[in-house]
């Protein structure tokens, strides 16, 4: 709150702002701070709409009628450069072999990041270290989790989806056999202004595309061997880590069993450890229809459906349920 006194007259016709204003910028054209004025005795009180940052130098100006303006300065304490502590905690898919039609990445940082600048600091480099252009869907809004720690990066679907101009002219983002590196530049600041502790690099080799729907018949389910042992399910291809973490549930008579889910072996293995020992009996692993692999294929429905394939014409993504015994 800012206080100017004494002020003995009535509120001026132009409002309190015409005689008392606080500025957070030295620019001659910059407006004064937003906020609310009130009178308290012989003082004018101004409460800014937002508490000004400590490193912003504030200039309070009182213009008494017929007198010279009175100016007071506040704040402007420079912020010391923070030690770079924030790191890239993980990138999924974690495998170092990616299919040509990989659809998205999740980049998780150890602390909340600065938003709105991601596309300046993310690069795919080719084998010669040259930046590969036009790789990502660079939406202004950026796709973050609510905390600003995990960024979702979509590879350009116009280059992934078959039959589109960009797919024909530019080709898919990657070519089979190609070596490429994901680079996250260290001068990306976190939400608190600190630089990243180090650049992040992930070298990958590109494998043939995954064009088939997920088929649960290809999964290998290993029932728990003991009352506290985990349920383990192996998949032929990496699953989308974020979706898999919420698409699977373990149920007994329809009721969800609480437990811990881990994805291992480059997201090709689902490991579920129940909170309480298994009681002997029948269980089911349930997968929701939202489940996707890392190329956007779902159970029963590939990412892009080839209309010339009659059996795919009405393909709908579906869930699945696999029965198993535990606790015996």
């Amino acid at each position: 709150m800012f206080r100017a006194e004494p002020w003995t007259g009535a509120e001026p016709s132009g409002g309190w702002r015409s005689v008392f204003e606080v500025f957070a910028s030295e620019s001659a054209t910059a407006p004064g701070l937003l906020g609310a004025y009130r009178r308290e005795g012989d003082a004018i009180l101004f409460t800014p709409r937002f508490a000004p940052r400590a490193d912003v130098r504030l200039r309070a100006v009182l213009r008494p009628p017929g007198g010279e303006p009175v100016i007071a300065w506040f704040g402007g304490v420079p912020r010391p450069e923070r030690a770079p502590t924030t790191r890239v905690a993980s990138v999924t898919p974690s495998a170092d072999i990616w299919p040509e039609n990989i659809l998205r990445l999740y980049i998780t940082f150890s602390a909340p990041m600065r938003l709105g600048v991601a596309w300046q600091y993310l690069r795919m480099l080719d084998a010669a270290g040259r930046p590969m252009g036009g790789m990502f869907v660079e939406v202004d809004q950026e796709l973050w989790d609510p905390e600003g720690r995990r960024l979702t990066v979509l590879f350009d679907p116009a280059r992934i989806k078959r039959g589109l101009v960009d797919h024909i002219n530019e080709g898919p983002p990657f070519e089979v056999g190609q070596r490429a590196t994901l680079l996250i530049e260290p001068d990306w600041r976190d939400a608190d202004g600190g630089l990243l502790a180090a650049p992040f690099e992930k070298a990958v080799t590109i494998a043939p595309p995954l064009r088939a729907a997920i088929d649960p018949a290809d999964w290998r389910l290993t029932p728990p061997r003991g009352a506290t042992a985990p349920l383990v399910v192996d998949f032929p291809h990496s699953l989308d880590a974020a979706i898999a973490a919420r698409a699977f549930s373990v149920r007994q008579s329809g009721a969800r069993i609480t437990g811990t889910i881990r994805l291992e072996a480059t997201e090709t293995r689902f490991v579920f450890t129940p909170d309480r020992p298994w009681t002997p009996g029948a269980y089911a692993l349930v997968a929701d229809a939202v489940l996707e692999d890392i190329a956007g294929n779902r159970i029963g429905r590939p990412f892009d459906i080839d209309r010339r394939e009659p059996r795919l014409a009405d393909a709908e993504a579906r869930g699945t349920e696999i029965a198993f015994e535990a606790g015996g």
Partner: protein
């Protein structure tokens, strides 16, 4: 000709204090009703601004927008983001979505500027408003090991078409679209149910794809949306088909060159001709000839070039991020020049 259809008046609200979790998209419905898309909060708000004009017809020019906003809210320009802006057609005033803070814990506010360039804050509590809940996500409540939900929807665009508020979203997890068409005024217990929007890649492949930006457009009196998917520049979708749970296929009517997607669009009429002005990701601002737009058939064969609706590129317009109509002959453009962001009035080409 594009248009907003019938006018509606909003009821006064009994909502409690509004705390926007995000404000990624703004648009106007008739009668000065400002639509605010809060993707993180999974809500769309409709504010009866009472800002009913008359339209001043004067140009708006605000240089160093982020610097001025930073000065208003007591921070440094690098802590300011401006996700969207919209011009109120009733008054000619511009409304600007602002995030104050670098990270996800930023404060979100809406500023308003008139032709004098003076910025004031829209009071989100005292301005009468209604809102609609967009929560219908499967397992949206699922949390990570630290107890945080990670899945979010970002509202990429919203607008008013044929009596409905149309909301396009992009998920940070599954690729599926989250398009919604919510009858307006909002009903009491209404939810914005998702519609599956599909994209046919030239008759052969099809994918459930998200929409990035769109405008309302009337074809022979029938409201449609002209949309840009994340993968294709221009598709038509009739608003009447946007019913909850529907599976809707958009019709591609233009290809606009390689690696190019619209960031924002406006429709206008000049000297008796219909046009669409489009700010693009890679190819500057394009002016499309919209004469007989309804006559373009779907592009159904594989092509390796531009096709469909003819266009020209307006070379003098660089760095345009957002566009909205400002009166009959002008548009307001949000232009990025280096680190600076300016609002500039341009004559419609």
């Amino acid at each position: 000709m594009s248009g907003a259809g019938d006018t509606t008046l909003l009821e006064r609200s009994t909502d409690e204090c509004v705390q926007l979790k995000s404000a990624s998209a703004l648009a106007f419905a008739p009668n000065g009703v400002l639509l605010v898309g809060d993707g993180l909060g999974a809500r769309v708000y409709a504010y009866e601004t009472g800002d009913l004009g008359p339209a001043s017809g004067r140009p708006i020019q605000i240089d160093d927008l982020t610097g001025k906003i930073a000065a208003l809210v007591g921070t440094t320009p690098d802590q300011i983001r401006v996700p969207d802006m919209a011009v109120n057609p009733a008054s000619g005033n511009v409304y600007i979505a602002v995030a104050r803070g670098a990270g996800a814990d930023a404060d979100h506010l809406i500023l308003k500027a008139d032709a004098s360039g003076q910025l004031t804050e829209l009071d989100l509590d005292s301005t009468p408003h209604t809102s609609v809940d967009l929560v219908d996500q499967p397992d949206a409540e699922k949390v990570d090991r630290r107890g945080n939900a990670l899945r979010t929807d970002t509202i990429t665009d919203l607008g008013y078409a044929g009596g409905k508020v149309v909301v396009a979203g992009l998920s940070n997890e599954e690729f599926a679209s989250t398009l919604r068409a919510i009858p307006y005024p909002f009903g009491a217990a209404q939810k914005g149910a998702a519609i599956e929007i599909w994209h046919g890649a030239h008759g052969q492949y099809e994918t459930n794809a998200p929409i990035r930006t769109f405008i309302a457009y009337d074809f022979d009196g029938e409201p449609e949306i002209l949309a840009s998917y994340t993968c294709t520049p221009l598709v038509r979708i009739p608003v009447a088909k946007l019913t909850p749970g529907a599976k809707v296929m958009g019709m591609t009517i233009a290809e606009l060159g390689n690696m190019n997607r619209p960031l924002d669009m406006i429709a206008y009429r000049k000297d008796g001709h219909d046009h669409i002005l489009m700010a693009n990701s890679n190819r500057g601002v394009m002016k499309l000839d919209a004469a007989g737009l309804g006559d373009y058939g779907p592009i159904t064969e594989k092509i390796a070039a531009t096709r469909g609706v003819p266009y020209e590129t307006i070379g003098e317009l660089q760095g345009v991020r957002r566009l909205d109509k400002l009166g009959e002959g002008h548009a307001l453009a949000m232009v990025a020049t280096g680190d600076a962001l300016n609002l500039t009035t341009i004559a419609l080409p």
